[in-house]
Structures are given as structure tokens and as C-alpha cells.
């Protein structure tokens, strides 16, 4: 870059293009997408045994089973809040080390708000539905998957993709949400290994997708100059 003043009427197109390139470079340097996905993958995978051992299952003589996923309620709210705090701190520290400010706060706040919403919805459901059994249509079950921990991870990632203007993350999140919404994380997958495994397999798939995303973004991240 030269230090000469650009004469008025020079090449504004080039000047504007340079400004955009510099802004794009800053946004790339502020990103720590791989770390966010890694934290979320670890939280998801560690959550599987909590759901497995925290689930109370009561099978009736007619072959049907009632279950309560207490492990999800006890594990996920604090785990997600800690995860968003850890991601925010990591972003700020990495950006500061590179000599930049961070723009992660809206993501962390969205994640925390969605966590509170999920907790409220699940507590309300746990208190109401045992005494008022209802068979929901599939559209309600999709909404339920969206406000479950695996769904809200994706919703918050959409916010991160927006604030980072990160098209790759947006595409990844679209794929992740498609997987999280298609998998029956709220009624269990039909497996031959019992009801606990029925719930564990979708969580394992979500965790692995996040882990693969973390590896992919780590491989393509911009190294500081």
C-alpha cells in the first residue's frame, strides 16, 4: 500500500474493493468457528451418558414404555451455558491475541436465551404431560426437536454465521439442522438395543456432525500472519 493521497476522480472502484478486502480479512481473522463447533461437539457427546443413565423407563405389561429424560434436564442447561461462556471467552482471547476486537457477544447471548427457552419448555412439559397424555402431530414434534438442545445449537449457529458473514458456516449449519430435525431426538430412533440406545444414536450422530465440522473448519482456518 502506498501513502499517496488518491486524487479525487481517481479509481474509486479499486479503493472500495480494497476497503472490502480489508474488512473481509478482519472478519476471517476474528473467526474461531472450529473451536465453537468443537466445544459444542464435546458437550453433545458428553451428554449421551447423562441421558442414558438419567433416563427413568417404566415398561407396562402391554409392551409400551413410559420414560422421563431427567438427565437431559439436569445436564444440558448448565452445560450449554458453560459452553457459550467458554466459546465467548475463547473468541475474545483469540481475537485479542491477533490484535482485534471480537464480535461474538450476540451469538453467546442468543445461545443463552435459547437455553433458557428450552429449559422452560422441557420443565413445563415434564410437569404437564405425565398427567395429560397427548399424541402430537408430526409438525409439533419438529418444533419440539427445534427447541431441544440439539436444535438450539443449530439455531444459535445461524446467528454466528450471520454476525461473521460466514457462508461456509451457514451451509454447514443448514446441513446440521437438517440432520438434527430429521433425527427423532425426542421420541427415539427405532433400534434393536433398547429405548436408551434409541435416544443415544441420534445424539451420537449430531455430535459426530459437529465434530466433523470442527475438523473441517480447523483445516481451512486462516493462519495469522
Amino acid at each position: 500500500m502506498t501513502t499517496e493521497s488518491m486524487p479525487a476522480g481517481g479509481d474509486p472502484r479499486r479503493l472500495l474493493s480494497e476497503v472490502r478486502d480489508l474488512a473481509r480479512g478482519v472478519r476471517r481473522d476474528q473467526r474461531l468457528t472450529w473451536a465453537a463447533l468443537l466445544v459444542l461437539a464435546v458437550v453433545t457427546l458428553v451428554g449421551i451418558p447423562f441421558d442414558w443413565f438419567g433416563m427413568s423407563v417404566r415398561c407396562l405389561p402391554d409392551g409400551s414404555c413410559e420414560f422421563a429424560r431427567r438427565g437431559v434436564l439436569f445436564y444440558w442447561p448448565p452445560a450449554l451455558l458453560l459452553a457459550y461462556a467458554a466459546i465467548a471467552v475463547s473468541y475474545v482471547r483469540a481475537a485479542r491475541a491477533r490484535g482485534l476486537g471480537a464480535r461474538v457477544l450476540p451469538y453467546a447471548v442468543t445461545g443463552a436465551v435459547l437455553t433458557v427457552l428450552f429449559t422452560a419448555a422441557w420443565v413445563a412439559a415434564a410437569l404437564y404431560f405425565p398427567s395429560h397424555p397427548v399424541r402430537f402431530p408430526s409438525s409439533v414434534l419438529v418444533l419440539d426437536r427445534l427447541i431441544a438442545p440439539w436444535g438450539i445449537i443449530g439455531l444459535a449457529l445461524l446467528v454466528l454465521a450471520r454476525i461473521e458473514r460466514n457462508v461456509a458456516l451457514l451451509l454447514f449449519t443448514g446441513g446440521y439442522l437438517a440432520v438434527a430435525l430429521a433425527l427423532p431426538t425426542n421420541v427415539g430412533l427405532s433400534t434393536p438395543w433398547g429405548i436408551r440406545a434409541d435416544f443415544a444414536v441420534p445424539q451420537l450422530i449430531c455430535g459426530l456432525v459437529l465434530l466433523l465440522g470442527a475438523l473441517g473448519f480447523a483445516r481451512t482456518r486462516r493462519r495469522p500472519r
Partner: protein, 114 residues
Amino acid sequence: MTTEAAGPDPAGHPANGLDEVVHQRVRLGILAIVHEARRAEFGYLRTELDLTAGNLSKHLSVLEAAGLIKVEKGYEGRRGRTWITLTPAGSAALAEEIKRLKLLIGKVETSGHP
């Protein structure tokens, strides 16, 4: 009484509204980086703009004197660090410059001149 020939209104040309402090490649680059980053450190600016420390300092002084940036010096451990943030006037000046540049590009394209 003289009659002047009607020509293009010079006051209406977008180039006339350009601020000489901002309309300079390095200073515009500094403003663009700091705006996007919320705040930027001296070393980051020097690397990204490929400048010497002295050269960057001169440009920062011009921007600071114009009230467009705020320079804060501090320490992290034993290492001295200088952080630059935009003032509200700096944000407004950057937005105005970008608006003028887009107007200029539009003007060049509609007039058909390169």
C-alpha cells in the same frame, strides 16, 4: 451583467464532498479495519497495511487530530500495546466516504467514461 454558460454543477459532483483526511488509501484502510474489528492493535494494522511503524504512526496522528480515532496505550504483561478505536465521527466519516465512492462509481458508469 454577464451570462455564464450552464455547465455541470461542481458542488453536486460526489468528488467535491470527499474528505481529504479520509480519502487517502492508508487512512481509509485504517478506518475500514478498525470499524470492522471494533478495535484494532497497532501491530495488526501495520501487518495488514504493510507499513513501517513510523509511517503508520503518522497516519494515526492525522486521524487522531481530526477526531476520527481514539488511541489507547497500555500493557499486557510486560508488552506494550496500542489499541485504536473509531470515534462516532470516525464511523460517520467512513460511511460518508464509502457513500461518496459509490456515488462516484455510479457517476463514472452512467457517464460512460472509464
